[in-house]
């Protein structure tokens, strides 16, 4: 039986992923800053999957309380086997590109907070010499683009951090999965122009869950983004910098 802590559980991707775990019998702790919504999602998962699901408060930039949250979740669940780091903010790029405060905030919410939390989680997992960590990254982190480089750099840095963490934990038996998501039809992307490439949150979650089950290290979801991003990465910088996206 898996006992999993979800961070940013009000994300619809997180909710769908939590359902995949719950259906297979996992016990879950849903951490979110909107505790009322987290409780509704917890209720939903218990009704649908008959699983044990509880919830509690979590603010990503409240760094001092990260270790405490891990303790709380482990106490509620009777131990902790995994964490799924799902929080993130796309923000308003045109604002972030001009306003240093805003840019710093985006990096803090998407990256600094994740580093802080993952460090505590890694300590916990390394001590028990088992466990897993799922990190939701983005294809936006694979190359800096004019349209979203603040969010993109945070996600790219997060993937790099997860890569190092994977190596750090390799000998402790702790498994780290980096997910690079393509466009998902969620609150984050709704209304920003429709794309045929967008997948539904349950589809994204099934992809993430499948990657976790086969113990993938870095998974693109859906898989076609791997070759696409490989191609995007080899476009020479002097040309790429003029790309309009």
């Amino acid at each position: 039986m898996n006992r999993v802590l979800f961070l940013g559980a009000t994300s619809s991707i997180a909710r769908a992923l939590a359902f995949c775990f719950a259906r297979d019998g996992a016990r879950l702790y849903l951490a979110a800053r909107d505790v009322g919504e987290a409780a509704r999602i917890a209720a939903d998962l218990s009704v649908r999957a008959g699983a044990y699901v509880c919830s509690g408060a979590f603010e990503a930039t409240d760094y001092e309380r990260h270790a405490e949250l891990i303790g709380r979740a482990a106490a509620e669940l009777g131990g902790l086997d995994g964490v799924a780091l799902c929080f993130g903010t796309l923000g308003d790029h045109s604002h972030a590109a001009r306003d240093a405060d805003c840019a710093r905030g985006l990096v803090a919410e998407n990256f600094t907070a994740a580093v802080s939390f993952l460090t505590e989680a890694a300590n916990y997992m390394a001590a028990q010499r088992s466990g897993f960590i799922i990190v939701l990254g983005s294809v936006a982190g694979d190359r800096g683009r004019a349209g979203n480089y603040v969010y993109g750099c945070a996600k790219g840095a997060l993937a790099l951090f997860a890569q190092g963490l994977r190596a750090h934990l390799a000998r402790s038996g702790v498994y780290v999965l980096t997910v690079k998501l393509g466009l998902v039809d969620t609150r984050m992307t709704y209304g920003r122009g429709r794309s045929l490439l967008a997948m539904s949150p349950p589809t994204a979650a099934r992809g993430i869950y499948a990657a976790w089950r086969r113990r993938a290290q870095v998974a693109y979801v859906p898989a076609f983004w791997r070759p696409v991003m490989a191609a995007v990465r080899i476009i020479p910088e002097r040309i790429f910098k003029y790309a309009r996206f």
Binding site: T10, D34, G36, D44, V47, R48, R187, M188, Y190, G191
Partner: protein, 464 residues
């Protein structure tokens, strides 16, 4: 900590249509994922505003040109289930498909289901939907314990038979015009298996059909007749009638499987493009109808069919609405009271024959008692006919309406795209009383739809 709605994304202006893809329109579409976002969206949305589910109403019931729509499909959390009372509390965006997936394996089924599982419970309550068991179990309202309705200022009113009962009865069947159903409590029914015992009979004419309904409806939970609209005048109303009851677990164990509540998932097929206009023409439709009747002419007795096949045969073909081509299609569904029902049905079928327009699919069923104030079902016979949108269809529907009105019947808002205000206000005698309740619940009339304006259901709404 304050609930966050800072992340509430704006609302794009999108093209929208009902299931028939006629008529088409555009609206500002909000898609809240949290309760707080719903309230924020309602406040920020262009008025008039309207809740929308999965857009399975055929015509313009879930359209709101010049205003906005609140897409409720992401507010689909199940909140509690009590197996003792079979009572489910959930948000309005939960779909029948989700209810089936969650509860059929545990031995529960929706008390009333439409002919597709891709309908939200909110949409089902708003249209007070009926199923093949209406003669026995009435419409979905009868199984609703209560619901939370969000009013124009974002305030929540709890509605049940005891509390705010006027609003309760005005909202069930009220087509979203009294507010947004946010949460609801519904009693499911027990089933022992996911299969039905099924009997079908070929019936040569309308008299035989009505006779059989009167008799078999007492023995069967579910009944419906498929009418061969292409049959000649002497065989008017010639039908294949179908009757079914849920099968017992024992029978399943004896004959098919030792896991009677489990069905294997089947992938839906996709229709990748619109069928060309000529594919469904009167001749192919007639040929198809004749063939269908021919294949079923011997009927079947006592066979087993799984519930997906029985209740949702068309759901296998994901977006079958594209079969009717780019102009879209429409359904005419009416009910004529029992007393002179036979005469009414004959006149309708004769009108159809005279028009030369072919109906791809026509079904007939007998209804039991009425529930909500604007609920469609009244004791009588209901006839539903699908048509490709074509020249002369509006006139045909007008002639249908005259017949229906003459016999004291009515048309179904959830299917309608053609009716006129003058006719409809005579068809729904409770309309005046309903308007008074609507006005006190929504004095500024911010809830309105393209259908409600076309049919002047809530006069004055949206005119600002």
């Amino acid at each position: 900590m304050p609930p966050s709605n800072a992340g509430l994304p704006g609302a794009p202006r999108l093209p929208v249509a009902g299931w028939g893809r006629y008529p088409r329109g555009t609206a500002e579409v909000w898609r809240p994922e949290k309760l707080s976002e719903l309230r924020a969206a309602l406040a920020a949305a262009a008025k008039p505003v309207l809740a929308r589910g999965l857009g399975r109403a055929y015509g313009d019931a879930a359209l709101n040109d010049g205003g906005s729509l609140l897409d409720l499909t992401r507010l689909n959390r199940m909140l509690a289930f009590d197996p003792q009372s079979a009572s489910l509390r959930c948000e309005a965006g939960v779909t029948f498909a989700e209810v089936l997936e969650t509860f059929v394996p545990r031995g529960f089924f929706p008390p009333v289901t439409p002919g597709t599982k891709f309908v939200t419970l909110g949409g089902a309550l708003a249209a007070d939907i009926h199923g093949k068991n209406h003669h026995r179990d009435s419409s979905i309202s009868k199984h609703v314990v209560g619901f939370d309705l969000m009013g124009p200022e974002g305030e929540i009113k709890r509605c049940s038979r005891e509390e705010n009962s006027d609003l309760f009865w005005a909202t069930l069947g009220g087509m979203g015009l009294t507010g947004v159903i946010v949460e609801l409590e519904l009693k499911l029914k027990h089933i022992e298996s996911a299969y039905l015992e099924y009997e079908s009979l070929a019936l040569p004419d309308i008299d035989r059909v009505l006779e059989i309904f009167a008799d078999y409806d007492r023995r069967y939970e579910y009944s419906v007749a498929w009418v061969d609209c292409a049959a000649g005048t002497k065989k008017l109303g010639r039908s294949i009638a179908m009757f079914a009851n849920f099968a017992s677990a024992d029978r399943l164990r004896r004959q098919i499987t030792d896991r009677p509540l489990i069905l294997e998932a089947r992938r839906p097929l996709k229709i990748p493009f619109d069928l060309p206009q000529f594919a469904l023409n009167p001749r192919t439709i007639r040929a198809f109808n004749a063939l269908y009747y021919f294949l079923h002419r011997r009927g079947t007795r006592d066979s087993l069919v799984d519930l997906e096949r029985f209740f949702y045969p068309l759901d296998r073909l994901g977006n079958w609405n594209r079969l009717y081509g780019r102009r879209g299609f429409a359904q005419y569904q009416c009910v004529v009271p029992l007393a002179e029902g036979r005469a009414g049905l004959i006149e309708l079928l004769e009108e159809l024959k005279r028009s030369g327009i072919a109906s791809g699919l026509a079904v007939l069923k007998q209804f039991g008692p009425q529930q909500g104030m604007l609920s469609f079902p009244i004791p009588g016979y209901t006839l539903a006919m699908d048509f490709a949108v074509q020249d002369g269809l509006g006139e045909l529907m007008e002639r249908f309406d005259r017949v229906v009105l003459k016999y004291g019947g009515r048309v179904y808002f959830a299917k309608d795209a053609f009716a006129r205000a003058e006719t409809v206000c005579q068809m729904y005698p409770n309309l005046e009383q309903w308007r008074a309740i609507k006005l006190s619940a929504d004095p500024r009339r911010i809830f309105s739809s393209r259908l409600s304006r076309r049919l002047a259901i809530d006069p004055g709404a949206g005119e600002r």
